[in-house]
């Protein structure tokens, strides 16, 4: 039986506000909490609540990772959303997936920090949903062999990442693989995932409009054991508005999938059921971001690398909590000067108007952090 493996990333960063040079040393309030709450409220109404209800109604079993940063805010501000997710996990057997609490890049530079953030996320997930995650996914599916060693060592049995062109040219994403260190490794089927998350409402797409029966037929006709459909949860109702018919699609999909003899499974289920087809070695970083599917969405230009170096310098700051919120990868993502293909996506997410503004505000915060952590007078430092 072919298994449809949905994975949803549910994340909102704690955006920093337009922190001015005049705020340095005077205003320690870095975060744009009014804006953050406004966005979370909007997304809750447009996506989290209706999409989760649709998953419950369709009894669609999936794997979902809610970043700690977002879950914390939901617990504080939107308990109705938390309750809805709880109901979902209980009724469908859906699986909560662990990540770094802060949705950070810690995996690429600081193992100790990374472990702490994953542990914190795991604890949060257990506390809120009463389930212990066994599947790990890194921020934006960033992956490299050595990540599996660390994550495997922490006891996680399944890891997911991107099915990049280089990988799938020799290994179909529609099977289970083994990481270099023995964990199950699942590769995103980006074509079939993007058909929903990117192309669903694109009128110039030759397959437009996409109906559930046609899509289920594609799934049926695709050879393999599993179809890994990994995407932003906000696909439902936020990136693809309700008016596009995305919820009708989601409501109809279970019936179309099941009548073709397929079923929905979680990542850990297929990890236990299926044998890995091969061992994959991935020595260089990959991710699901941008066209290049590497780290360039966060570290592709001098501004991003400069800001990242600043960030790293506060490892020993006594204000660890604040520092960790500043590690959220979105802050660097906003500074991306993506190529033309990706610019629209970046502009869509950028709350500051331009990557240059994002960098300037972040650097001002870094200046203030320097004073906060080391008491340095920034004006003397030239």
């Amino acid at each position: 039986m072919k298994r449809i493996v949905f994975f949803f990333e549910v994340h909102q960063p704690r955006r920093i506000r337009k922190f001015s040079v005049r705020d340095i040393g005077k205003n320690r309030d870095y975060f744009w909490d009014a804006k953050n709450l406004e966005i979370i409220d909007r997304v809750a109404e447009k996506c989290y609540l209706p999409a989760t209800q649709a998953l419950i109604d369709g009894n669609i079993k999936t794997s979902i990772s809610i970043s700690g940063v977002l879950l914390e805010s939901l617990v504080k501000n939107r308990s109705d959303v938390v309750e809805k997710f709880k109901e979902y996990f209980q009724k469908t057997g859906g699986e909560p997936v662990v990540e770094t609490y802060y949705h950070s890049l810690s995996s690429i530079w600081n193992e100790r920090e990374f472990r702490q953030q994953v542990e914190k996320d795991s604890k949060m997930t257990e506390t809120v949903f009463g389930k212990t995650p066994t599947t790990f996914r890194n921020s934006e599916l960033i992956y490299r062999d050595d990540l599996a060693a660390v994550v495997g060592g922490m006891g996680y049995r399944n890891i997911i990442t991107e099915g990049t062109d280089a990988l799938i040219s020799s290994h179909s994403p529609n099977y289970i693989y083994s990481s270099k260190y023995g964990q199950n490794l699942l590769l995103r089927n980006y074509r079939l995932s993007d058909d929903i998350s990117f192309r669903f409402s694109n009128h110039s797409w030759t397959e437009f409009p996409l109906f559930a029966d046609k899509y289920a037929r594609w799934l049926e006709e695709t050879p393999g054991d599993i179809i890994n459909l990994f995407m932003d949860y906000e696909t439902f109702g936020e990136h693809q508005w309700r008016e596009t018919g995305i919820f009708e699609f989601l409501a109809r999909l279970p019936e179309e999938v099941r009548k073709r003899g397929m079923e929905f499974s979680t990542i850990s289920e297929v990890g236990e059921l299926l044998e890995p087809k091969a061992t994959l070695s991935i020595p260089n970083y990959i991710s699901w971001a941008d066209f290049s599917r590497d780290l360039s969405a966060w570290l592709g230009n001098d501004m991003q690398r400069d800001a990242f170096e600043d960030l790293k310098s506060f490892e020993n700051c006594r204000d660890v909590e604040i520092w960790r919120y500043l590690q959220t990868s979105d802050h660097l993502y906003y500074m991306s000067l993506a190529n033309v293909q990706d610019q629209e996506v970046h502009a869509y997410f950028n709350p500051y108007g331009s990557p240059f503004d994002a960098y300037i505000h972040y650097k001002n915060v870094m200046e203030d952090m320097r004073i906060r952590c080391f008491g340095e007078n920034f004006k003397k430092k030239k």
């Binding site: 001015s20 040079v21 005049r22 230009n301 001098d302 501004m303 690398r305 400069d306 800001a307 000067l337 331009s354 240059f356 960098y359 300037i360 650097k363 004006k379 030239k382």
Partner: protein, 366 residues
């Protein structure tokens, strides 16, 4: 196709935006079409140009930007001269700004030749929307309404004209080019020079007074920096007074007139170029600075900004934000380098060949 161009400035006789536009656009166009340019008989015109030039006697002349009280009369005299000297064996008449509109309208009626009018600036821009002259606006309006086709150097200018004179629908926005050869050999260092550059006419339209306010705020917030105001104009006295009043003398330099060679060096050796224009239809200097690899901070009311990605934009009066941008560029090498390098490529994508092709399309659409 034969094109009669009614011009004014032609380098080396005045090198304002109109002059640079005229010589570059019509040099390019003259390679494929027959171009005749009418200009006032300035004493310092070159002996020959790549296109045919007809010098029109029009008495003593000044820059269209000067505040000479006789300027209006001179313009009318020049326009009369054009009509007398005009040879009507052409397919289209291309007039530039209000200063050539009267002749264009007479010639259109007389010979039934279609006219295209390019607006490089409007009376609204030139006056900084402070006390615009009604008699000039009425000529502008007539040109705008009776032309067969209108060209503006930005969507920003198109919008001003539509708001002032109504209509629209026959307007093409065609951006100016930039001379790639002039900037092809620029070797820019991104080590800090601490220099902030204003380069342009020192007149209310370009907002030099905001540059002084900017200097004050940057010095307050960021510490050392050097502000260079290059150019001449009617507000020099006012600017000098402001610099003294705020005690900025040690960090502020007024260079007066600078020639092309010095301008290139100024662009290259500055950390950031600022154009706080109140209303700037295009902003050639922005592209020149970017072509030199120098980041720019410009007002939102600068036409070329509407199509630029690698430039920082704010309101001309918002010197808080402006100082934030300038200060950030001064402080962060990564920002200087990213905006500078990418901006250079972006600016060099503007070319007079593109301008010429689009202008030709307008002629052919009549």
């Amino acid at each position: 196709m034969k094109i009669a161009v009614l011009g004014w400035e032609l380098p080396p006789a005045f090198s304002g935006g109109l002059g640079i536009h005229t010589i570059n656009l019509f040099t390019t166009l003259s390679r494929v079409e027959e171009v005749m340019v009418y200009v006032p008989d300035f004493p310092n015109l070159d002996q020959s140009y790549p296109f045919e030039v007809t010098r029109v006697k029009a008495g003593p002349l000044g820059s269209p930007y000067s505040v000479n009280r006789d300027f209006y009369d001179m313009v009318l005299e020049y326009n009369k001269g054009i009509v007398e000297a005009f040879r009507p064996n052409v397919d289209v008449i291309h007039a530039h700004d209000w200063i050539t509109v009267p002749a264009a309208i007479v010639l259109k009626r007389k010979y039934n030749i279609p006219i295209v009018v390019t607006f490089h600036s409007t009376e609204y821009d030139r006056s900084g929307n402070f006390n615009p002259q009604e008699r000039i606006m009425s000529i502008e309006r007539e040109g705008y309404t009776s032309a067969d086709k209108i060209i503006t150097v930005s969507a920003y200018t198109d919008k001003i004209l539509r708001v002032l004179y109504g209509g629209g629908g026959k307007t093409s926005v065609i951006y100016n080019g930039v001379s790639s050869t002039m900037f092809s050999n620029v070797r820019k260092s991104y080590n800090s020079s601490g220099r902030v550059l204003y380069f342009g006419r020192v007149t209310s339209q370009k907002g030099p007074v905001f540059f002084v306010q900017l200097a004050r705020k940057v010095l307050e917030t960021y510490g050392e920096a050097r502000f260079v105001l290059a150019g001449t104009g009617d507000q020099i006295g006012e600017i000098t007074d402001a610099v003294n009043k705020f005690g900025l003398e040690n960090n502020f330099e007024l260079t007066g007139f600078v020639n092309d060679e010095s301008a290139l060096k100024l662009y290259r050796d500055s950390d950031v170029f600022v154009l706080p224009a109140v209303s700037e239809p295009f902003g050639m200097t922005v592209l020149e600075s970017m072509s030199s690899g120098t980041p720019t901070v410009i007002s939102k009311t600068t036409g070329v900004g509407e199509t630029l990605f690698n430039a920082l934009k704010c309101d001309f009066w918002d010197t808080d934000r402006m100082s934030e941008y300038v200060g950030a560029i001064l402080r962060h090498k990564a920002l200087r380098e990213v905006i500078g390098r990418r901006g250079r490529i972006e600016a060099l994508n503007f070319s007079w060949e593109k301008t010429a092709l689009k202008t030709l399309e307008v002629y052919k659409s009549i």
